[in-house]
Amino acid sequence: MAISSPANRLWWKEPIHRVELTWIIIAFLWGLVMFFTMVYWHAVGDQNLANTTYKTTPEAYLAKADAMAQKFKVREEFGIPVVRPPPGSDVYLVARIWQWWPILELEKGQSYRMHLSAMDYQHGFSLQPVNINIQVHPGYEHVFTMTPTESGQFGIICNEYCGLGHHTMASRMYVVDRNQ
């Protein structure tokens, strides 16, 4: 039994039954398939998060975001600038308690170099209802390219606990058609 010592002292010399062996081989191969599916997706898939990251400080990052917001601001909502940077440009999003800043307006089908960094605690970038979720750290500037494929108004919420105002940390992202 499993609670007593093996009856056969040389248990490692016993053959493994065909049924077990077959399953072990199937499970091993399935593991390889799953492993190489991840690798394969890097070659052919469109959803691979870039790992480009810079060390930064809250002040340095905020200065860059501020410069972008001043340059491309198109209007304000509740005192928060709505920014429409040109396609292909660097877009900075600031995560801080309890706000995403500024509000972004992007064009459908265009690619943008998104930058994410936090000013204080860790935050969670969660784009809804698309359901893209990325962790945001203070001191790290994460850069990746994102291409909105549908237009409309999207929600950005925070999904890493960041203090008592966490549930109010929500913003918008607008995606508009090219010539709007």
């Binding site: 499993a2 049924v19 091993f28 593991g31 997706w41 860790q122 962790q135 109010t168």
Partner: protein, 567 residues
């Protein structure tokens, strides 16, 4: 030197039982159950707050309760119980005295002291930093100190376990190799040492930082090392509860492993590869290469998953083989129909096996896929997954085996056998609901750890789909059911432990349904059953499992493919 060791002889198994080990097992089980009750209460209040129409707790209490829930059940309940399992698998199963009972009591005192300190600190309200306590969010110094004390206690308990193994070997209390269950426990203890060491590496500096002696803790480094404790400690649970699966199958049915070699290989794969799992929590974090993510998140080509998949065949396989040996040989599934479903130890283990595999295992592998993690990270899918592994897997298994420990080790009769008979089912249904509906809500984008998902206070609230709120409501209802199952367990265990009839007074064999009556030493065939192995039912079950796994895996790739392109 030490006082002479006192033993009694177990009337059921004939094993020598060290009375010191027995007392320690009892103490650790009782402590575990107390923290389960406490943590379960916090958990229920969290689920009721997530239920939008109930929204039970106020803001600050929600995060406090969520922090306490994680600490009390994931840390205290499970590790206290695991210490009991370690002492059982060493001293009792090897017929040996416990290496250092006094030291074991010191470990117990440290763990109790640490747990109480953490709980008090959290209840003081300044340490609602969640179980994960990510820096730079700061808790009170006693929060980290309590965790460190608890970890040191657990480490000493592991040392005691290893010491007992050495003594058993020296004193030749067993023949040949250690039993499979002890082998599994060794796996758990080795992983525990790695885990607790990682915890020390990160928690001690964080403690110093919380007191102002260190100026800065890097948040990425913290996460990487913290999860070497946080996730790897879940692998202690897997090793421990899989060991218990084999133990319960052996005690209840006299089941023998199909092949010692395959089952031990599976445990051995855990030792080699499970520690890489820290990566599961860093898949959408900055500054880490994809190569690192892919290698680590897959436990180097899914070699630890391979271990679990081997157990997925061998555990039900041993059960089927044992029941067929008892004559339930008709057709594919007579053994399953006529299995001792009225015995809570068996039903709990079998339900746990099924739910751990189908709900917890598959969702874990899918969520731990580098790219798919993008559509799941930090959503409610994550708690949905780990309630299937840690609650349906570990907790339900530990509950099940408690019904055997009470008569065999604590020498009391289970006070309310009928309550026990239904308890595992009530709890299992509740937990499967919790897991499924949290996962469902997560796929609809509901974040974890949020007090109010309607975001009524927010300047720019996001409106989640109505289906998500329905899932949260169902989650609340099933949480009530799971809590009911928890209460049924706690009441029965506490009542039996303290006021149950002593089995020594009434030395009758275990009351159980007919197939269980025969006591169990060597009920089933021989090892190396290479010619006789006949487990068609298990093959069908494993086939269903495999097909579900493959389908669910690729369905999620399809979901991912519909998301905005990211490079």
């Amino acid at each position: 030197m030490a006082a002479p060791t006192l033993f009694r002889t177990c009337p059921t198994t004939g094993l020598k039982v060290d009375l010191a080990a027995q007392a320690l097992i009892k103490a650790n089980v009782v402590a575990a159950v107390i923290f389960l009750a406490l943590g379960g209460l916090f958990g229920l209040s969290v689920a009721l707050t997530r239920w939008p129409d109930v929204h039970f707790l106020p803001l600050d209490w929600f995060y406090l309760a969520l922090t306490a829930h994680g600490l009390d059940v994931l840390l205290c309940w499970i590790i206290f119980f695991e210490v009991a399992v370690l002492y059982f698998a060493s001293a009792i199963l090897l017929n040996c005295r416990l290496a250092a009972p006094r030291l074991a009591w010191a470990a117990f005192a440290l763990m109790v002291g640490g747990s109480v300190l953490v709980n008090i600190t959290v209840l003081q309200g300044e340490s609602s930093v969640m179980f994960t306590s990510y820096v730079p969010m700061k808790a009170a110094p006693n929060f980290y100190l309590g965790l460190i004390l608890f970890a040191v206690g657990a480490l000493i308990a592991c040392g005691n376990f290893f010491g007992t193994l050495v003594i058993a070997k020296e004193e030749r209390t067993y023949e040949g190799s250690v039993p499979l269950v002890t082998f599994g426990a060794i796996t758990a203890a080795i992983i525990a040492v790695f885990t607790l060491a990682s915890g020390a590496v990160i928690l001690i500096p964080t403690w110093l930082w919380s007191m102002g002696y260190i100026s800065h803790i890097d948040p990425m480094t913290y996460k990487l090392i913290w999860w070497a404790m946080g996730h790897s400690s879940q692998q202690i649970n897997v090793s421990a509860h899989v060991s218990v699966w084999y133990a319960v199958a052996a005690i209840v049915l006299g089941a023998k492993p199909l092949s010692e070699k395959a089952s031990r290989l599976a445990f051995f794969l855990y030792i080699l590869f499970l520690q890489l799992a820290s990566a599961h929590h860093l898949l959408v974090d900055p500054g880490i290469s994809s190569e690192w993510k892919i290698f680590n998140t897959s436990y180097a080509m899914y070699l630890a998953v391979l271990g679990s998949m081997i157990h997925a065949l061998t555990v039900p396989g041993t059960i089927e083989a044992a029941l067929r040996k008892r004559g339930f040989n008709k057709g594919m599934f007579e053994w399953l129909r006529k299995a001792p479903w009225g015995n809570p130890a068996f039903s709990g283990v079998f339900l746990s096996l099924v739910m751990f595999g189908f709900l917890g295992g598959i969702s874990g592998v899918v969520m731990g896929t580098e790219q798919i993690n993008l559509i799941m990270h930090n959503t409610l899918y994550v708690p949905g997954h780990f309630h299937a592994t840690v609650v349906a897997g570990t907790t339900l298994t530990f509950m099940a085996v408690t019904y055997l420990l009470i008569p065999l080790v604590l020498q009391r009769e289970v006070m309310f056998p009928r309550l026990a008979k239904y308890q595992t089912y009530v709890f299992a249904i509740g937990v499967s609901g919790i897991s499924l509906f949290m996962m469902g809500a997560g796929t609809l984008g509901i974040p974890r750890r949020v007090w109010d998902v309607t975001m009524s206070d927010a300047m720019f609230p996001h409106q989640f789909p109505a289906a998500a709120f329905l899932m949260l409501t169902l989650n609340g209802i099933f949480a009530i059911m799971a809590a009911l199952g928890g209460v049924m367990y706690v009441v029965n265990v506490v009542a039996s432990t303290f006021w149950g009839k002593k089995t020594a007074d009434a030395p009758k064999p275990q009351k159980a349904s007919p197939p269980l009556a025969a006591p169990v030493r060597a009920a089933v065939g021989t090892y190396g059953s290479a010619e006789t192995l006949y487990i068609p039912g298990t093959i069908v079950l494993v086939g269903i499992f495999f097909i579900s796994f493959v389908l669910y895996y690729y369905v999620n790739w399809k979901y991912l493919a519909e998301v905005w392109p990211l490079r």
